[in-house]
């Protein structure tokens, strides 16, 4: 049976953009599909198109990319130092698979974006940071186009390794752990140089906008959330990656993937640093906006996980918070001490070791760690815990009285 796809800018893209050259696109297929890079004579025009496009970073932060680029340009002019450009494909979020997929299947589009930004900024160095597993394909791709101005960097696979300052530290030979932000990377990043660090999917979008214009980019998505984004969708232990319109309706995406609404208990939007929702009418957006209807929830690095009715949401949340607590960089006291306590309390709730104070204690702990670390790890971990308490209030009540509303695998 075929579902009728409404002719609106929502859901899975009718024609893929980022993967338009097909799977495992080689240099020849890439050129055939997208053509060569625009000439240097159009660099000013490209900057204007990037600016007009409204593209926001696809690594999770959703910061306007053109503003980042402009800040690096200004800083380079002021300090008279050549900038550094870093493509970040580290993808620390365990549920996100899109960056790796993009680097394997469309490496040339990412390289196009990296080379274009480097060219326009007059960069002294161009880095591509990614897990070592994709390096063979990236080396092949660089050889295919005879490119030797891009250096690869192998990033660790732990949760915080993809955080901007962690990538910076690792590139400088230090540990791949977040640093205390001393200022903006655009002012002083890698070895003190003005630095542009952008997610690899963002680079691929920049490469497309440079060729096809901002107006073309905006034919996908909405005015507030233009363009498309890669989305990793987890359901029943499997995942798929699809390119969806900006601010797609969650219900439409799920329907197109033939995940029936009747089977869905809740959806985790935005990955381990995300939030839960039971409402399929939300939109998957660049940033949260709970004051408008439909509500917009941040897709983060472009991740959703479907929770079916057979799973206990508190048990799933407990697993994630436990992982997040173990993923702390162990540098900042409130995170180092607070997250394990949060994880322990949440586990007690998940395991129905009833204690009337637990939910309140979890809320207090969440508030206590928020804003008290050098990166956003404690804030986001606390937000996930609190979102579970809010969304699964009936389940919390059941657990407090020693029961569970859902059949779990571990029946006690």
């Amino acid at each position: 049976m075929t579902t009728t796809i409404p002719t609106m800018h929502s859901g899975v893209l009718e024609e893929p953009r980022l993967l338009a050259a097909g799977p495992d696109a080689r240099w020849t297929e890439h050129l055939e599909c997208f053509g060569p890079l625009p000439p240097t004579t159009s660099d000013q025009q490209i900057l204007a198109e990037w600016d007009a496009s409204g593209l926001a970073g696809r690594g999770g932060g959703a910061f306007p990319t053109a503003r980042k680029i402009a800040a690096v340009q200004r800083s380079a002019a002021r300090t008279r130092r050549a900038p550094v450009v870093i493509g970040n494909g580290s993808e620390g979020e365990p549920l996100s698979c899109k960056d790796q997929l993009l680097l394997v299947h469309a490496p040339h589009l990412v390289l196009d974006g990296l080379l274009l930004t480097s060219r326009i900024l007059g960069a002294s160095h161009s880095w591509l940071a990614a897990k070592s597993g994709v390096h063979p394909r990236l080396l092949e791709a660089l050889a295919e186009r005879g490119e030797n101005s891009v250096a690869l960097h192998a990033t660790d696979s732990h949760f915080l390794a993809g955080q901007a300052t962690a990538v910076m530290s690792s590139l400088e030979g230090g540990p791949s752990l977040p640093r205390h932000p001393a200022g903006h990377l655009s002012d002083a990043g890698l070895a003190g140089a003005p630095t542009l660090l952008v997610n690899v999917e963002t680079l691929a979008h920049l490469a497309l906008i440079a060729r096809y214009s901002a107006a073309w980019f905006q034919t996908a998505g909405t005015a507030a959330d233009p363009g498309s984004r890669l989305l990793t969708i987890h359901d029943q232990g499997r995942y798929q990656v699809h390119e969806v319109h900006g601010s797609s309706d969650l219900s439409l995406v799920l329907e197109q993937l033939q995940i029936s609404a009747a089977n869905i208990q809740a959806v985790l939007v935005g990955g381990y640093h995300g939030q839960w929702t039971k409402d399929p009418r939300i939109q998957l957006a660049a940033t949260n906006d709970v004051h408008r209807r439909p509500v917009a929830l941040a897709a983060g690095a472009g991740v959703i996980e479907v929770l079916r009715h057979d799973a206990c949401p508190l048990e799933r949340t407990s697993q994630i918070i436990d992982y997040l607590a173990r993923s702390s960089a162990r540098q900042c006291g409130p995170c180092l001490h607070g997250l394990p306590t949060l994880a322990r309390d949440f586990q007690a709730l998940a395991q129905r070791r009833a204690n009337a104070q637990l939910p309140e204690q979890i809320r207090r702990l969440g508030a206590l760690v928020t804003g008290r670390g050098s990166c956003h790890h404690p804030d986001a971990s606390a937000r996930l815990a609190i979102s579970a308490l809010q969304v699964f209030g009936d389940e919390v009540a059941a657990h407090r009285s020693g029961t569970c509303l859902h059949t779990t695998q571990e029946q006690r």
Partner: protein, 82 residues
């Protein structure tokens, strides 16, 4: 004139000198790390320093055994970050 105290959390080990010097702005939490008192925290997890606390804050910056504190004085102190 506003000032803001910035705690480098990767350095702070909760030795507590700042808690003594800035008792009006900082409280201790369960693990001994500084916690802005009610209404003294800013958006970015930093601590707002009132005029009568400025001298104490300067002292705390100097005294911190782990050099975890810095003070941003002037009108730019509370500007948006990024």
């Amino acid at each position: 004139m506003s000032a803001e105290l910035n705690i480098n959390w990767t350095r702070c080990q909760g030795r507590g000198l700042c808690l003594e010097l800035m008792a009006d702005s900082l409280d201790s939490e369960p693990w001994g790390y500084p916690l802005p008192r009610e209404g003294q925290g800013t958006d970015h997890g930093k601590v707002r320093v009132q005029a009568d606390q400025l001298e104490a804050a300067r002292e705390a910056v100097k005294m911190c055994p782990l050099s975890a504190l810095s003070l941003q004085e002037g009108d730019s102190a509370l500007d948006g970050q990024r």
